[in-house]
């Protein structure tokens, strides 16, 4: 398969795609297989998972400038939005699936560790100010804001938020297409 044929296949795909470039002899490729299978089930009918054996597609490997395996590339509307080389945890791999779904590169998908610590510190400081100095409605306002700030530190790790937000985004994305068919 050439790069043009591959791009054509991507353009014809109705779903965002994550492509796993693997080889039968590659240990890390086998190591991430259960996580990928799990994510494939989790994102079924929302993100497609293609598996390409690099031994059979050496030309494509060169054209896509892949320098190691396993490499996973996330595509949204036929455009690459993220890639990752090497073994990774289910959580790290799920960021690629989220990127394919949203079209946002994985680096922007989650808060950094420093951001999380900062938000937790500020959330706790606001809660403290609210409890210690808040009078009347200002106490409720500050406690409410502190809860929101604390939540923003962990929102993308909350399974309820992830389920609700991905379903909501999916619903909002599909709705116009559904309406146009009527």
């Amino acid at each position: 398969m050439t790069k043009d044929e591959f791009n054509e296949k991507l353009r014809n795909s109705s779903l965002p795609v994550v492509v796993d470039f693997w080889a039968p002899w590659c240990g890390p490729c086998r190591a991430i297989e259960p996580a990928l299978a799990k994510l494939h089930t989790e994102y079924v009918e929302r993100v497609d998972l293609w598996k390409i054996n690099v031994d059979e597609e050496a030309e494509l490997l060169r054209e896509l400038h892949l320098y190691g395996i396993p490499t996973l590339i996330a595509y949204h509307s036929g455009q690459e939005v993220g890639r990752r080389t090497g073994a990774a945890s289910t959580r790290q791999l799920s960021l690629l699936f989220d990127s394919a779904l949203s079209g946002i590169p994985p680096a922007q998908a989650g808060a950094t560790a420093a951001d999380r610590i900062l938000r937790m510190g500020v959330g706790l400081a606001l809660a403290g100010l609210g409890f210690l100095g808040g009078i009347g409605w200002t106490r409720h306002l500050l406690i409410g804001v502190s809860v929101l700030v604390l939540f923003t530190a962990i929102y993308d790790r909350c399974p309820i938020y992830r389920t609700v937000s991905t379903r909501l985004k999916d619903y909002l994305r599909r709705k116009p297409a559904g309406l146009s068919r009527e």
Partner: protein, 74 residues
């Protein structure tokens, strides 16, 4: 890029805004009472939220993007 905007988008600028926001809120709660205190709390929330979520409300005044990430990227 304006040096003021660049500083505000840097990690030091973000922390400065967060601290300034918290100080204003603490002043509004603990020192200034009445309507002045409420104004301080509301005004303090603005730099706090802007620093926390990495956007700079004054950047568009200097023809810079609102997002801190975009400012840092140049």
């Amino acid at each position: 890029m304006n040096p003021f905007v660049k500083f505000m988008a840097s990690p030091a600028g973000r922390i400065t805004r967060i601290v300034a926001g918290l100080v204003l809120i603490a002043l509004g709660l603990l020192v200034v009472h009445g309507a002045g205190g409420i104004v301080l709390i509301v005004v303090g929330l603005l730099p706090l939220v802007a620093g926390l979520f990495d956007f700079c409300v004054f950047a568009p005044l200097f023809s810079a993007p609102l997002s801190g990430k975009k400012i840092r990227a140049g």
